[in-house]
């Protein structure tokens, strides 16, 4: 790291603050980096695309809530992969207030629902249909929930959707809030390693599915749109699927019109991301290198975006 490289943006930023302006044009585009590999890939893909347009890019680590505050006030510019399922009310509030602009979906197709490891099908033969859970709740029971089954749900600060569903369809399961993503994954890893029962609310694409084999509980109506509040036994649809949004700061479009165009065009699918995640997490390669390699092999995908954005 050299002085000039770090000091220049700071100087510029300070100058703009002093002038009371928004973002200066020569600023690097700041892309939010979260704590998981899939997002790293999206972020570096976006960064590489911006570099094709001749912009400087800076990757800034940011937690789930702070990144929203940062985008709302303009100190971060772009988050290509925002999961709407694990941010609280702060997100809709900021969008409504016009502080954060939603540019559309990234192209990832998320799936949310209840998962179980394949060996549970032996203990509960009716799976994957959710009806089977009524009869084999005890197979999923633990000391603190007996005789009800134990269902690990999202952490309490992500809402209570699983608990609501359990109530609505009257399932003999006790929802246990997972506390945090790390705790949920730790529980899943240990349960699978020891072949213990587990039923857990989860989402994909997620890197854990690259190393752990799971099945999804199926509902009466296949996943898609679902009115979560009006379900009952026999007419259950599970969960309204989350979206993965591309979000930008409110003056991004005026400061970087070409980059905004690129944000609109940018797209990443489950298949691409899963392959790249595997390269990084299993083979221990650098995110940057993996993304560059994929981009080199798939120029036909993104070259048209660059051409369109440059116009």
């Amino acid at each position: 790291m050299t002085f000039s490289k770090t000091l220049k943006p700071a100087l510029l930023a300070s100058a703009t603050i002093l002038l009371g302006q928004g973002t200066a044009l020569a600023d690097p585009i700041k892309i939010a980096v979260n704590e998981w590999t899939g997002q790293h890939i999206s972020a570096h893909f976006a960064g590489a695309l911006f570099e094709q347009l001749g912009h400087e890019v800076e990757y800034v680590t940011a937690g789930a809530v702070p990144q929203l505050a940062a985008i709302a006030e303009g100190s971060l510019h772009y988050q290509p992969e925002l999961w709407t399922n694990n941010v609280g009310d702060i997100y809709p509030k900021a969008v409504e207030a016009g502080d954060i602009i939603v540019v559309g979906g990234l192209g990832l197709e998320p799936q949310e629902g209840w998962i179980y490891p394949p060996y549970m099908a032996e203990l509960c033969p009716g799976l994957p249909a959710y009806e089977a859970l009524y009869d084999c709740a005890q197979a999923f029971a633990a000391a603190d929930t007996f005789p009800d089954g134990r269902l690990i749900t999202y952490p309490a600060d992500w809402g209570t959707r699983s608990a609501d569903l359990v109530d609505l369809i009257d399932l003999p399961f006790k929802p246990v809030p997972g506390g945090s993503e790390g705790a949920m994954l730790a529980e899943l890893k240990s349960a699978v390693a020891a072949e213990q029962p587990i039923l857990m609310m989860m989402w994909q694409p997620h890197w854990v599915f690259a190393e752990t084999d799971v099945n999804w509980v199926e509902w009466d109506t296949p996943h898609g749109t679902c009115d979560e509040a009006s379900q009952k036994r026999g007419e259950a649809c599970g969960f309204q699927q989350a979206t993965v949004d591309k979000i930008v700061a409110k003056d991004f479009a005026t400061s970087y019109p070409d980059a905004m165009k690129m944000v609109e065009l940018m797209n990443l699918t489950n298949d691409v991301q899963n392959v790249l995640i595997l390269e990084v997490d299993q083979n221990g390669r650098e995110v940057k290198e993996v993304v560059a390699e994929w981009m080199g092999a798939n120029e036909d995908v993104w070259q048209p975006w660059v051409a369109a954005a440059k116009q």
């Binding site: 940062a70 100190s75 603190d144 945090s180």
Partner: protein
Amino acid sequence: MDSSSDRSLVVWLAVTVLVAICVVFAKNLGPLVIYPDALVLPVTDPMNTAMRWFVVTFGWFFKAISWLLDWPILLAKSLLHAVPWAAWFVLWIYLALRAGGRGLAIFTAISLMYMVTFGFWSQSMNSFALVVVSIPMAVALGFALGTWGFLSDRAYRIIMPILDLMQTVPAFAYLLPILLLFGFGTTVGLVASILFAFPPMVRNTIVGLRGVPDEVIESGLMSGATPSQLFWRVRVPTAQRQILLGVNQTTMASLSMVIIASIIGGTNDIGWEVLSTMRKAQFGESLLAGIVIALMAMVLDRITWGFAVQSSPTKRGAAGWIICAVLFGAAWLLALLFPPFKDWPEAWVLNPAPAMNAGLEWIFVEFRTVLEAIKRAALFYLMLPIKIGLSQAVSPFTWGFAMTPAVTTGYSLIVAAVAAYFSFKGKLLPALWVILFALVLYSGLTGLAWVALSAVIVALAWQAGGKNLALWALAGVAFLLLTGIWEPSVISLYLCGVGVLLSFIFGSAIGTWASENDTVSRMVRPVIDTLQTMPLFVILIPFVMVFKIGEFTALLAIIVYAIVPAIRYTEHGLRNLPHDVIEAATAIGTTPRQLLWQVKLPLAVPSIMLGLNQTIMFGISMLVITALVGTDDLGQQIYIGLGDGDFGVGMTAGIGMAIIAMIADRITQGFSQQIQARLGVKLNESL
């Protein structure tokens, strides 16, 4: 019997009757059992409105501070990264050598090598930049406030309660307001770090300045010192040791904020590494990164401590510094010639994480039945009875029989017999307490009517500290009720209560053992040092893997952290007793056992009680962490406030935790003083 114990009897009789009524008629008392929602004041909305107004009106001021603070961090980062690690190595080892001799130098060398060879150097320097900037600022702020508090009594009365609040409100609760005010980035972490780290400096400055003996001041005055000379040349140097102790504690507090700073983000530092690996449930990786923070804390602690206790810091003069500078330059030169001395090659990085993960997996797969049995026993026979009461915890599945009317009658008879025994021996108050305890245990903390639990808390406060404390406790309880956080507060009380109880029992036992046995002491020291300085998030992953998400895991996490002061203070208290007393006792021929139980332990009570007090504080501060494994206590409310961007919700929960902590603190201190008065021992304030 004197009048004060008569009054106690009346108060506790009233409380017991009230609790008994609430337990027996639990189903018929409605709003007296479950606090009605209609009586909850809508405080969070006005709080949010006020905060929004504040941000809009004064936001520019805080943004300007934030901009100013950016510069020193940038400078520190550039400097730390520009110099090769080999050169820093030389400087640190020299500092360690001066502060603590050869042992410390070796420890420092090993710690630095760990950061380099495990590939954490660059991230460590990013974290260190934050610490290095925050410490001087926190020290300056703390010293200034401390001096002000020393000079003006009115300032003292304002500062002290604010310090209490700042140290007990968890940092997570003020994360959101800091974000709103200061914007985003490393600066926010710096502000959080300074806010958390300056209170110990204020306290130590005040204690130090107040402790300057009058004779010293008088001799200063007699030699004609001006007020400013008197302060800087007489008071401050005399109070130096205490003030440096403040610097030391500020350093530790600032390091413990590294993780919080990373939650906000802005830099790829060691805290971010811990958070990322924890989020992926990578036990080995997160432990390796967590150890870096522990090592940094221990090295800085020993070095600042070493300088603090040195009487004449300029012993070895300039020659040492010159040698150090020469070696520093040589190391830098070497790094230019041989790049691994600047950037450790990726291929040389050690990574034992996969092996550690495999080891952990082996443990929880092989010992599953044993571990499961431990967890069940703790849940069925200890945690559930306290939480939901014997009335619900006892079932054929858990205890092997149901709580039938016959069993309930048997329980009542046993309690009555014990109470009768006490009252027969003339101990009426203990008899009442037995009945009260049995009633609470029957209905459980969460099942107990709010009226009853409030009465017990206020009565306890009255017993410990008289009318004033009782009024404080009443106000605190009213806050918890009126703001609608009573239920999570009770869960917090239950989790912390059980955690503190177990920590204190095991901790003081280990501490006693360590005080009697040097080998044990030597083994315990590094373990508790690590537990205290390592980010606690790291401990959660293995616990969840072994014991699953839930309250038992949360309890273990609390114990692991809260047991540290219990061990430390017990050992310290037992080892630092007046020699003449021990010698006198040995001379009259007491056995080692008698010596421990009848001489040492009673004498060490003040220190042990201080340990209990700290155990409670540590336990409460863990509630925010335990929420990450799925408990629904006040810590969870703080996360909900954070996730919803709701300042009011997070802040009321934070203040609620502070209130619980402060009431618990005052009550234990009150009882501690009573016990000390009865035993006739006093705390020598060397701690």
